[in-house]
Amino acid sequence: MLVSYNKIGKGYIMLSTYISMLIALLIFIVLFINSFDAISQVGLKLFTLEWNPSKNEYGILSMLYGTLSVTVIALTIAIPLGIGTAIFTSEILPSAYRIYVKSIIELLAGIPSIIYGLIGIAFFSTWIASFFELASGRTILTAGILLSIMILPTIVTLSDDAINNVPKKYREAAKGLGLYPFEVIKNTVLPIAKKDITGAILLALGRALGETMAVMLLIGSIDKIPTPFYNVLSPGQTITSKLGREIGESAFGSLHFSALNTMGFVLMLLVIILTLITQLYLRKSNRLYE
């Protein structure tokens, strides 16, 4: 009787393991198979500018540009702001308050992206429109700014952990040499915490690349690279916003659907690789102070 329970138990554990692993592989395989049509039929013409399903033109360059530019804007704003805030919470804020501030920031990281999208539509796009005197505030810049706010909590809370993990003795030794707080942080604390902060930024980058709802509502959804290309005050399109807008309208099995799938597949690979780098490589750092 005992043995059979043992077997049933093991059976349950193995079954759930196999199902979970199968699901992960299945997602990968299903997306790969469905993007195969586009890769074989459109081929290198995927890397052109025109996206026009009725003419069988599937160029994804403008979507790639949109994703890239939105992400760059978001990181340019969020990295200095986030690391500055993290230095404040870990170095200046008394440690008794740190746990509360961190809790609040972590709760904010959980606000659903659709709510950010709503705030973006109601406030940010109108502000951008009136500030730059544009007809519509739905631009690459608006989406980038909103995205920077969305990834800010991730950067702040993870960088704060990284900085806080640097042992006190390093700071004390540096202070003992007569360095100013800035020099202590720049020359001692940040170099030690660098690897973990890089991890935080990569994680935020992954989130920014895959973010859909807020970007989709705010970017204006026009498949064009603006002229000149650095004119971020014009509407654009990201991979995710394209997928969000069009996948419901494209017929399953068509080349159009497959081309959209290819974009999704590329995006997925990119984000998975980023995540794996952060989790498997950076986490295994043998810290010099342990």
Partner: protein, 281 residues
């Protein structure tokens, strides 16, 4: 003098960054509560929506969202418990350990819209389920699997080997060891992971918008393969008619309800984490 000046500039930068960050966060929260409370009333919470969401309330959206995450829990929880026990107790080679790690972290990294596309291809089209809330639950369950697995695994894996050795020395079988010794401790980690996962799942729009939800004319589903309406997709639909002030007003109300649901889960998770992190062996 130069060093002193740099230090002063640096201090100003850090304070400014802090002020900006917290200013933004304060702005977000106050806008959501201020606009949201203006839109919420007893009627809003307990009447169905009408006129494309611009009028009426959100009772079916609340029911739909809760239905989605209840079934996501029922699917994800047993699966991830089994996987976590496997990973912690059965895997002996570091090679297999690396494969499972890669799969879990990989799954964790997939952007949410990709889950939606996977559901659309695999369930809605290949298995021909049609738009179905049950498929939505399955997809949300897949999405929160890694969170629960990792949290459970950490809780079980941190139990010292002396517990296992004692149990085995008493003549317990491996399954008895798991149910009597490891699970009671591992479950707390599993629940924390579940709460974190649910706080994410309930707010997700992208995975369910093609496969599980319909915007109008939906009440409580009677079968497994019917659409529901959910809070996040309701906000999406209302946000797209943002020029209509009445629709926008309802969107704020819906957002606050959704935010409060998310906060219930994430505060519970936070509280559990603070409470159970004090366990020392």
């Amino acid at each position: 003098m130069n060093r002193k000046l740099t230090n002063a500039v640096f201090k100003i930068f850090v304070w400014a960054a802090m002020a900006a960050s917290f200013g933004i966060l304060l702005f977000l929260i106050s806008v959501l509560f201020w606009k949201g409370f203006g839109a919420i009333s007893f009627d809003f919470l307990f009447t169905p929506s009408s006129n494309f969401g611009a009028e009426g309330g959100i009772v079916y959206q609340i029911v739909g969202s809760i239905l989605l995450i209840v079934f996501a829990t029922l699917i994800a929880f047993p699966l991830s418990l089994g996987f976590a026990i496997y990973k912690s107790e059965y895997v002996k080679s570091s090679y297999v350990q690396n494969i499972t790690d890669t799969l879990i972290y990989g799954l964790n990294g997939i952007p949410s819209i990709i889950f939606g596309i996977f559901g659309l291809i695999f369930f809605v089209n290949l298995l021909n389920t049609g738009i179905s809330w049950f498929v939505g639950s399955i997809i949300l369950a897949i999405m929160i699997l890694p969170t629960i697995i990792l949290s459970t695994y950490q809780a079980i894996n941190s139990i010292p080997d002396s517990f296992r050795e004692n149990a085995l020395a008493l003549g317990l079988t491996k399954w008895q060891l798991i149910t009597t010794t490891l699970l009671p401790r591992g479950l707390s980690g599993a629940f924390t992971g579940l709460l974190i996962g649910l706080s994410r799942a309930i707010g997700e729009t992208a995975p369910i918008m093609f496969i599980a939800t319909a915007f109008s004319g939906v009440t409580i589903p009677v079968g497994f393969f019917e659409p529901v309406s959910a809070l996040p997709t309701h906000i999406l639909a209302l946000a797209q008619q943002a020029t209509n002030p009445q629709a926008l007003q309802n969107a704020w109300g819906t957002s606050l309800v959704l935010l409060l649901l998310v906060l219930i889960f994430s505060i519970a998770a936070l509280w559990r984490r603070v409470k159970f992190s004090k366990i020392e062996y």
